[in-house]
Structures are given as C-alpha cells and as structure tokens.
C-alpha cells in the first residue's frame, strides 16, 4: 500500500499557488507587473497532485499557464514574482516573462503544443542515457488543436518515450468552449496512437494525487508514454479581465470545484489556519522582495 499523501503539504502547496496568483491579479492593474499573465486559480490540484510524485531528476514541460506548475515543481515565489515584474532576480533574469520559465528541469513555452516534441525528446534522451528520469508535460484542451502534438504522440509511442502527457481539460481555450474546438474524444486521441490514457473528472487533490500515483508507477514499471486527462475548471479570466463566460455559472463552478474548499475539511482548523497564515506571510514577503529587486541593465 502506498503511504497516505501528505494532506497538509498538498493544501499548503495549493494555497501558495492560489495566493501567488491572486496577488498577481490584484497587483497587475497597479502597474507592478508588465506583460501578460495566465493564472492557475481553480486548477491548483492538478499540478500539486501530479508533481507530488516527481523524482529529483524528472523533467517538467509547461505552457503559458505555468505559474502553478512552476510553484508545485518547487520554484521560488520571489523569483517568479520578479520574473513577472521583469526584474534581474527573476527566474530567467526577466528575459522570459510569465510564459517562458526555466529552472532546473522545468521548462515552459508560450507557443501552444510546441513543447510536445521537446518533452518527448527530453524523455528519449533520458532513456538513452539510462538515467531513469521521466518527463511530464502539461497541455491544455486547446493545445490539442496543434498538429505537432499528434506527431509527438506517434513518435513517443514508436520510440517508447518515458513521458506522461497530462491534459488539463478546463473546457475552454481563451474564450473558445471545447465544443467548438474539439471533435471526438480526448482519451480516444491517445488510444489511437497506442498510448494508454486514463481520465479523472475531479478537483480533489487527493483523487488527483492517487490517479497520478498510478500513472507514475506504471510509467516507471513499463517504458513508453502514458496520458492522464484531468477534467478541471479555470476560475479566473484567460489572462486579465477577458472572461466571457456566464457569471452565474462561474459562481456555481467556483463553489463546487474549488480544490482548496475540497481539501480544507480534511485538515484540522488550526492546522489549516496556521498553514494559511504562514503562506500569506511567505507570499507577501516574496512579493515585497521582488518589488524591491533591481531591474536588469540593458547592455550598451
């Protein structure tokens, strides 16, 4: 029997993501940040539940909506704030900005789907080096529109790449509902390339943790790609203030599908409150530090 997941740890991680993202959305109109942002609010359980199983050498490929992935990977809050502010202390020294992060074995890129073959290649490299490391790639439902994703599935299956495709299906791409963008069925798309795919409709970090555990175990036991489709909900706007969805529906969704709300009852109140207070302080400190950090200097 696998050990019980660390519920308090999962809660803390999700709360860190939530508070980070809320801080970003709140501060953006004040001109503290620059550029664009895509927040992870509502989807925190995905990154948290999945990346809890990551080994030290495993690789993560992420997309435009990468803050949550980065934080769950273990990325530093101050460095992430700083990157969004364009500061010299940012994850990539301010060069990448919100969508282009790299730290250790974590890579994100803003061109949808373009990361799929890169993730497959990285997994194949680790296999060739016999390192036992594997790759996880997060894709949105929208990214499934890109052809290179299917080329990558085919190659991953043919060449036995140790890669886990995680589809975060929040049923929307920017403003386009999935019904207008995706014909057929997501798991069938993986199956058609001979890639085993499981699916979970949940915002419960424990359920996602368990589903991901099974995927990682299978992936470590048997080489070759696998897929996990996580049906989820995006609570906030696509980027900033660009949500065209029905407000009443969104209110209901936020009520029913909040990963924090779902996990909270499992923690003792005092424990939860301690975590929340600690995280508030951590996020506030990270934000303040990043704000005080210097901008990079342009080479002459």
């Amino acid at each position: 029997m696998p050990p019980m997941p660390d519920q308090a740890g999962l809660y803390r991680q999700m709360y860190r993501i939530r508070r980070f993202e809320q801080t970003v959305l709140d501060a953006f109109p004040k001109g503290v940040f620059y550029g664009t942002t895509h927040t992870y609010i509502g989807q925190e359980a995905n990154a948290t539940g999945v990346l809890a199983h990551l080994g030290a050498d495993d690789i993560v490929f992420s997309n435009h909506r990468c803050h949550g992935h980065f934080i769950a990977y273990g990325g530093d809050l101050r460095a992430l704030f700083a990157e969004l502010m364009g500061k010299a202390t940012g994850v990539c020294g301010g060069l990448g900005g919100s969508q282009h992060l790299h730290w250790r074995n974590f890579y994100s890129n803003g061109v949808l789907g373009s990361t799929a073959p890169v993730a497959v290649g990285s997994a194949l490299a680790e296999k060739a080096k016999d390192s036992q490391a594997l790759a996880v790639i997060f894709l949105g439902d929208g990214a499934l529109g890109e052809g290179v994703v299917y080329e990558s599935l085919n190659i991953a299956a043919l060449w036995g790449a140790p890669v886990l495709f995680v589809v975060e299906n929040n049923h929307i791409a920017q403003t386009t509902p999935i019904e207008l963008a995706l014909a057929g069925d997501i798991p069938a798309r993986f199956a058609a390339f001979g890639i085993p795919c499981s699916r979970l409709d949940s915002s419960d970090a424990l359920e996602i943790h368990a589903a991901a555990e099974a995927e990682f175990a299978a992936l470590r036991a048997t080489p070759g790609p696998r897929a996990l489709v996580l049906d989820t909900q995006r609570f906030g706007p696509h980027s900033k203030g660009d949500d065209t969805r029905d407000e009443a529906l969104m209110a209901r969704i936020r009520q029913q599908r909040d990963p924090l709300r779902l996990l909270a009852p499992r923690l003792a109140d005092t424990q939860r409150e301690t975590i929340e207070a600690e995280v508030e302080a951590e996020v506030a400190a990270a934000f303040a530090q990043a704000e005080a950090d210097p901008f990079p200097e342009a080479a002459a």
């Binding site: 620059y34 550029g35 664009t36 990157e83 364009g86 500061k87 940012g90 020294g93 301010g94 060069l95 990448g96 900005g97 919100s98 969508q99 282009h100 890129n109 803003g110 061109v111 949808l112 789907g113 929208g142 990214a143 499934l144 529109g145 890109e146 052809g147 791409a173 920017q174 403003t175 386009t176 207008l180 963008a181 995706l182 660009d242 065209t244 901008f295 990079p296 200097e297 342009a298 080479a299």
Partner: protein, 338 residues
C-alpha cells in the same frame, strides 16, 4: 477620432458587406470577444455564417483558407500573434504562394492572412516578434503593412476584395490604438503607388523645410516613431529629413529596382536610414539598402539601418525598450549620419 483598430474593423465590415464570398476564420473570433485584438469585433454577430471560430490549429487554418480560395471564396485568416505565423510557413510558402504559378497559371488563391506583430508590451520572446521579414522574399506572396498615414481599413478591404493573389497583412500591435492620420498638418505628403501595387508609398516632408539632408524610410508603427523623430530632428537639431513609408513591402519592383519614391528622395538627400522593428540581419532594411546601393552605384553619402538586435525580445520592460528601436535611437542614428 478614429483609430487604426477602428479603421481595420470597418474595412473588414465593408468587405463582408460588399461581397458574400468573404469569410473569416481564426481563433477566438466570436463576439463579444471578437478576436484577441478586437479587430474582428461585430462580424460574428452580423455574419454568423461567415465567421468560423476555430481550434488552435494555425497550419490547418491557412490550408483551409487556401482550399476555400481555390474554390472561389475570399477567406480572411486571423493569426492571433504574428509569432505563430511560423506554424503556417509551409502552407504559405509551399502551397498558398505557389499554387498560382506552379499549376501553370490558371489558378487563383485570393486570401488574406492578417496578423499582429511587434513588441513593446512585455509579452516576451514568443509574443513580441516582427517576423514579416521571413515572408518578404516568398515568390507569389504580397506583404502589406498597415500604417496610420492613410486608411488601413480601406487597404485591407481592397486586399480582400480586389486582390486575386494571397496577401500577408501585417498589423503592428501598438498601431491599433494610434489615431488615424493625426497631426499631419505640419507635413506635406506625396503619394505614389508603385507599378503593380495598390498600396501607396507616402513621402512626408515638413512644410516649409529646406531640402532634406537624409531620407528616413520605415513602415507600420515604426513610421509613426520615425515621423516623431523627423519632427524632433527638425525642431531640436535643425536636421531636415524626408520620410518614405511604403504600404507594400513585397513584392518590390522586378529586377532589383528601387522604389520610385525612395529613389526620388535619395536623389536629393543622398543619405539613407532604414528603420524597422524586426531583427537586423536580412531584415526589410537589407533589401532597401541593397537596392539603394544598386541604384546609386556612385554611392550615397551614408547608408544605414536601425533594427532590433539579432536576439530574442526580452520580456522585461527596460530590456525590451533598449532592444526595440525607438525615437531616441533614431535621433542618435541620424545625428551620426549627417
């Protein structure tokens, strides 16, 4: 006062109204959103059957438009960011631009790919590029660049309705909110339409200025900055320039000939500065300078280019500002040349 954005939107509406064969395909086109930069707003409400919002599939969008155009429609494709035009490079180069000539000449591919380009918004390396230089040398493709000197909506309308070949239509993001043809009262403007083109080249002179010591050339949003530089050079430094702004970036005249308006200006000034937001090497300015060198074998007194460095565009504001050519850069470059 109208903006470039409003003008483009009007141009699309006019095209839809005037010709039933006009269709729009692209991502997130439906109202109230109306496309990421709102250029397509109102169309899906007014013409629900002719606006097809799509999956995130740029290559197929371009190919689908090619098929529609082959079969007599006049599709417009919106590519959300010009950075993603790389995904349609094969369709553009090996299908869309080729069909006309490679099938022996009896096939037309009347379609317009519209896309925003450019930085200065901190969007980072994959959402800030000025990539049209990749397409300027593609045989069979017309490349137009919206600017604020005359109505870009009318240009777009003509590209959609009157051009029987494929058009790559570039819209700089910062241009969208610029007022149309504003503050031109200080200028004398000459318009010249190159043979085979329908987009005019504009030559701007400050009213009452002495003869120009230098010819600036720029397109799109860069023409706005160049115009500002032109004013400041005159008033702050008493350096008088002419500014030549092409609307059509490709094709250029056959045989490597220099555009007439540019040639006329250089004939007098003998100094050339080409300014662009794209990266330096093999940018638009390279072709401009090459043609100028061919046209003036005796040589110009000075010929130079201002462009972004050959590096990804940083997200950080101070880094991005330093990288992309601005008014100050133009002032400095011109001062060094005269």
């Amino acid at each position: 006062m109208s903006t470039v954005l409003a003008a483009l939107n009007r141009g699309l509406h006019a095209a839809f109204e005037q010709d039933q064969r006009v269709y729009l395909i692209g991502e997130d086109l439906l109202d109230p959103y109306g496309g990421a930069f709102k250029v397509s707003q109102g169309l899906s409400t007014k013409y629900p059957d002719r606006v097809w919002t799509s999956p995130v599939s740029e290559a197929a969008l371009a190919g689908v438009a090619a098929g529609m155009a082959l079969r007599g429609l006049r599709p417009v494709v919106e590519i959300m960011f010009g950075d993603f035009s790389t995904l349609i490079a094969d369709q553009l180069i090996n299908s869309i631009a080729k069909f006309g000539a490679m099938y022996g000449g009896d096939v037309a591919v009347p379609l317009v790919v519209r896309t925003p380009m450019g930085g200065r918004r901190g969007y980072g390396p994959t959402h800030s590029q000025t990539l049209e230089k990749l397409y300027l040398g593609v045989p069979g493709l017309r490349v137009l660049a919206a600017h604020a000197l005359s109505d870009p909506g009318e240009l777009l309308r003509r590209a959609i309705l009157e051009d029987d070949g494929p058009v790559f239509f570039v819209e700089n993001k910062l241009l969208y909110l610029r007022p149309l043809a504003a503050e031109l009262q200080d200028f004398e403007i000459e318009q010249h339409t190159p043979p085979g083109a329908y987009a005019a080249t504009h030559t701007l002179r400050l009213k009452g200025a002495p003869s120009a010591a230098l010819t600036l050339t720029a397109y799109g949003y860069m023409a706005e900055l160049a115009r500002e530089a032109q004013l400041r050079l005159a008033f702050e430094h008493e350096i008088f320039c002419e500014l030549v702004v092409p609307g059509q970036l490709a094709p250029l005249l056959p045989g490597g000939e220099l555009d007439g308006a540019l040639a006329a200006s250089l004939e007098k000034s003998r100094r050339l500065l080409a300014v662009e937001e794209g990266s330096y090497t093999l940018g638009w300015g390279a072709e401009v300078l090459a043609r100028a060198a061919q046209a003036f074998p005796g040589g110009l007194k000075a010929a130079s280019r201002l462009a972004a460095p050959d590096a990804p565009i940083p997200a950080s504001r101070p880094l991005e500002e330093a990288a992309l050519p601005g008014v100050e850069h133009i002032l400095a470059a011109v001062q060094k040349m005269v």
